[in-house]
Symmetry: C2
Subunit: 397 residues, 2 copies
């Protein structure tokens, strides 16, 4: 039996429809006014824009200082300084991870995201503290969001003895994805790093999501090696390269061959599109068939006090980063925080089709472009057929 | 007689004070609770952050499509395409400039800006239409904001016969500042362009604000020539170079000599800090004594549908552009949308000192950094001692 209806919303900016929901899923979209009059109304959309819930493909919930008083960033200039600064900061934070990550997740939900991939520190300095906390957070919000966790060796994998065991323990406990970080730049032994990561993924039958900040030729060379290994291990469709700054160091036309290889192996690229480094040429990659997604990265943490987790704001930042202003370009930016993210994260049944979970974002906007430009906070968020945020405020799990 | 008091606000994040207002100006700041109890309370600040009203140093109000339905960007790929596309778009807009620019200005006021410099098209295709409309808009809001207008030859000055006469007519009508655009790239005769602009400024005793998009060595060479002319015409402290992308094409250390010259001549640099082009090295320029300010540039116009006019968001975008995260860096970004703008725009009595106009922004935030990061919309704006926006909504001129 259909159980509810969302009346008079415009999917992706198209003509107004009534969305009939059945057991938490979309069962039908009918022209507005055509749904049976006796169906209980979940939302009267009043012509608002209807979007699929947004996808946050790269975040670090375990590191956030959300809800805490302002803390000036005290890190030194290099990545190693920032890593050790984070140890100092987080060791002195009394508020448990769940009490920082939880409210941040609720904020992100209220902004319209219901799919998340969060990297979780696997560092000997923490032991399993971050992993266990984030597993509990995942459990707490499992009826509202899809939260994937990545075992992330922030401090290096090979250079930091004990980290591999922590990652195994994390995967044993139910962490979803195998992480990695700068096989050359941080771990200093790229082939052994990648081999270790891919062996783990093969053993645990998990996907891979590797942080790759290494720049220029070095980073590009590592991406080639990631492709080699993806092929060798048969992990097509299971690998995401996060950041991949190096792909921004070359004329896009010089990367067609590599892009075709990424597309053939279904290796996805995640970029937050930061403006202060080189970034992957998203339009070219997409035109060659590569899946591209985006994320917030750190949100108010020891690395930077900036960040909000609003994936419509992220789409705006992407558009600004690439000088995009046309509707089809804004649609690309939107795809990176919606369907592109769902594909990269291998989320089944994403979207507005009948049969998909009713994971929806409603907001006042004429179309996708205006949603990105205005970023109205008057958002209604529906998770699995239930309202979980109203007027941009989380109303319950 | 003191006439009002704003109770319990924290100027720039410091200890709480009462701000006593007298005839639209700040007359005293006393420790919170110390203002005379019988003074009428304008705002009970409840410990909110108190900032000077923000400065929008570079905007194009006459071009905006604000309040209009979404319009896909239809421009071709080059600047000339975009200029001719704008002609087509604006020629087909029925809504008068005042009915687009006015609501946008009210939106900007509600976001906390009370000082503006708007470039106004002087193009033969428009005649004086844009100038007259913006002069009327300036008049309409003169009791609330300081709005400077720049005579802007968007389509070129020398290459477009009749433009010089339009600019003279604009200045005769009361436009404040002489504009210019790409003396080499657009006008194709840099020395004659600059000479014309400086002659106009000298004749009318006005400042200069020149758009300089020309890149690399070409743009840097033009900046040197702008310095030559500033010196030759004795216009120290009267010249702003807007955009100056070329300064981002060189290692900052190679520009110390030029920076010192800009500082000595008091030539200011305006950058919107766009992420898709090279941008001036703001931190270095400031460290050598150069005044640097920022603006929104176009807001929802034929060039791009993006833009909001929130100068706290601009400060965030600046911080992201330069990878700034420390408190002193966020303070630099804030300076560019406040005191730096006031200096570049030669605004007298700007700030929170006794005697300054009571042009104030109150919002819930611990300090400047958090104001930039959170960008709360719960903003109260006071212009010349009167509340002009509450909860982020304009409440009257």
């Amino acid at each position: 039996m259909p159980d509810h209806v969302i009346r008079n919303v415009r999917p992706l900016g198209g003509p107004a429809v009534d969305v009939v929901l059945d057991d938490g899923r979309i069962s039908a979209m009918l022209p507005a006014g055509r749904a049976a009059p006796d169906l209980p109304v979940l939302v009267d959309g009043q012509g608002q824009l209807l979007l699929p819930a947004l996808v946050e493909s790269h975040v670090h919930f375990d590191k956030t200082l959300w809800t805490m008083p302002w803390r000036p960033n005290s890190a030194g200039p290099t990545r190693n300084h920032r890593i050790s600064n984070e140890h100092t900061v987080l060791q002195n934070v009394q508020v448990p991870i769940a009490e920082r990550a939880g409210p941040l997740i609720e904020h992100c939900i209220a902004r319209g995201s219901l799919y998340f991939r969060s990297h979780v520190d696997c560092q000997t300095v923490w032991g399993l503290r971050h992993v266990e906390a984030m597993l509990a957070v995942r459990e707490r919000y499992r009826h509202v969001i899809d939260l994937q966790l990545v075992a992330f060796p922030q401090g290096g994998l090979l250079i930091s003895p004990g980290t591999l065991d922590l990652m195994k323990a994390a995967l044993d406990l139910g962490v979803d994805v195998v992480g990695g970080i700068d096989p050359a730049g941080i771990d200093r032994d790229p082939i052994r790093h990648l081999d270790t990561v891919f062996q783990l993924a093969a053993h645990y039958r998990r996907g891979i999501d590797i942080h790759l900040h290494d720049l220029g030729e070095l980073g590009r060379w590592e991406i080639e090696r990631l492709c080699d290994m993806t092929q060798a291990f048969g992990l097509q469709g299971q690998v995401v390269i996060s950041h991949a700054y190096s792909l921004g160091a070359f004329p896009p036309a010089d990367l067609h061959g590599l892009a075709d290889r990424l597309a053939a192996l279904d290796v996805a690229i995640m970029t937050c599109a930061p403006p202060n480094v080189t970034v992957p040429p998203v339009a070219m990659l997409r035109s060659r068939g590569v899946t591209v997604c985006s994320g917030s990265d750190g949100i108010r943490d020891a690395w930077s006090p900036l960040g909000d987790g609003d994936m419509l704001e992220r789409a705006m930042l992407i558009a600004l980063r690439f000088g995009w202003s046309k509707d089809e370009e804004l649609a690309m930016a939107f795809d990176m925080v919606s369907r592109g993210g769902a594909k990269a994260l291998d989320i089944a049944s994403y979207g507005l089709d009948a049969g998909c979970p009713a994971n929806l974002l409603l907001l006042p906007a004429e179309n996708i472009g205006e949603a990105i430009v205005n970023r109205s906070l008057q958002r209604t968020v529906v998770s699995r057929g239930r309202i979980v945020a109203r007027d941009g405020v989380f109303v319950g799990a």
